[in-house]
Symmetry: C2
Subunit: 386 residues, 2 copies
Amino acid sequence: MKEECQARIACLQERLQQAELDGAFILYPIDIYYYSATRQNAALWVPTQGDPMLMVRKSLARAEQESGLDQLRPFPRSKDFASLFDGNKKIGMTFDVLPVDQYNFYQKMLPQAEFVDISMINRELRSVKSDWELERMRHGGVQLSRAFATIADLLKPGMREIDLAAEFESVLRKIGGEGLVRMRAFNQEMFMGLVVSGRSGSKGGFFDGAVTGQGMSNAVPFGASTKTIEPGQPVLIDYAGVFDGYIVDMTRMFVCGELDAQLQNAFDVSCRIQDCVAAELKPGAICSELFERSLKMAEEAGLDGCYMGPPGEQARFVGHGVGLELDEFPVLAQGFDMPLIAGQTIAIEPKFVFPKQGPIGIENTYVVTQQGGEKISVLSDALISV
Amino acid sequence: MKEECQARIACLQERLQQAELDGAFILYPIDIYYYSATRQNAALWVPTQGDPMLMVRKSLARAEQESGLDQLRPFPRSKDFASLFDGNKKIGMTFDVLPVDQYNFYQKMLPQAEFVDISMINRELRSVKSDWELERMRHGGVQLSRAFATIADLLKPGMREIDLAAEFESVLRKIGGEGLVRMRAFNQEMFMGLVVSGRSGSKGGFFDGAVTGQGMSNAVPFGASTKTIEPGQPVLIDYAGVFDGYIVDMTRMFVCGELDAQLQNAFDVSCRIQDCVAAELKPGAICSELFERSLKMAEEAGLDGCYMGPPGEQARFVGHGVGLELDEFPVLAQGFDMPLIAGQTIAIEPKFVFPKQGPIGIENTYVVTQQGGEKISVLSDALISV
């Protein structure tokens, strides 16, 4: 892990240098894990020149065992802060996730410092995975595929969405799934994934995706509900598998009996869109153009009115970065005009949501390569009829 | 829900008035759910005088179905902000959870406004549950107890912690558990709960509790691991059941075979501490004094060296508020000198962590009443031997 951490820190320091900053406080636990290889309660100081220092609240012993960094110490007392960081005037922080009271604490500790937002730098750096990370994500893709392969045996007509979810989640946990699906955006959250069927999958929601689900209550309004799965209804299963902290995201379609021709056609279109976008996951491709191309294919199929969400709540994206968080950069979305970089990992998920019949679509996780997307959620895309 | 929301908003408005504020932006989704009965992607404006307004990004249709408020509208365009909120100079926000970039957005929209931290007000208000909330939490306590009652049939010597966790979580989901355990503190997180056994349960960690667990990787360093459960080892199972969004927290002890006398004694002490603190859960009791009393009982038993954590990482609390979040007010902790209020809901969890043998303890969730704590996690506290 030592070399891995050194390389990540070096990339961050290069960006801090370009931004003319003196250093950065990395304070969000998932970012701390990324740069230090430990997710203990800590703050990571990365000077633009020199060695980083991990300041640990709890557990220092565990951080020392786990971390790839050389310098660790207990979190400083307030009166020691100024002397430790004296001379650092411009300091980066991730304003996208840092609470105001944390910001105020550091401003009080270092009244001379000016804090600068490095959210974009951090998200860009984290979007490109190293070989070490890709090895873990490929393993996760195989494990999640193994779990999905059991669904055909679990699904029975008349069972409740929540029961299928419970059984699938148990399979996923037993093969090592860590369960906790981390999201970065302020008002987003997810619990493992979604089992939805027919109209319960067509309901709009807070979630920034095509499908939200009914959920068990208005307090947790997403995912499986107590609705029973009836013959002929599309059953959409969308889960994030978490292994070694890394997320792989995939969706497969199931039906008890047969789907009607319209839904079957929409499924075929979603697979064609996915494959077309996946083939273009090469360095330099512009994210927003990939979304526009997918939208055009939906239009040509006459399905743009229910593309990526129920009518009136359609999302304007077709893919999103995944890694330690479910909502990483890049996003294949309207307005996201950045070029792809080799080693980025992206879930492509073209979906159609028919208000009366339910949602249908496909999703796989890919690595951006010179040859186009490398599919790491290795299971067949085929719709399964039981 | 309408009366429920009106009552909660009225309490908030009273506190805003006392703080001489013109209103508050409630922006954190869990707080929005508390005051409006919908957890859609939205911002809630609560003027100190007059009716609140929920401004919804997504889904407005769903928010309209769910909310107990009268005034809902789409989230305003940037150019409309100033006219909507003109004249409001001092505005409350919860700095404990609001990211800096959100704060900056509102400051840009309303350059004349001064934003003031109302985190404490919000946490105090939310700590006292209404009859409507208590009804839901009592139901959750029964459901979680039903799930715990199945563990004796699931646990077999030689099984892995993760397999027992997977099977128990499946039971919990099938009886309606929503799974998502929300935490408010910046660097805390939890996935459903912990299955730990022997030394895997003695490892320190980032988690602000007595027990963290080994977990499956350094990226998600808590909860069940692949360690097998051996005869004679204490098996500590600590889960948060989430029903209708409300959390009930409980811990029970299990063993394959028999515990040795030292561990059995520590278990008995933890139950005595719990029962003593529970009897004092009356309005007016001072939180920190309840912790001090529990610590004194641990000292008298000669067990203070491993009370509430492994040596060197001992937590200084014996209970915490629960509700929509796992880490609510009040905290029965050193330095938390506030008096209890009737209707607060508190998990009491005296635990001992022996570095070589493992953790042992008990936990139940109680309501503060004039007669002392009402236990809502209704299952017997007895240690189960299988």
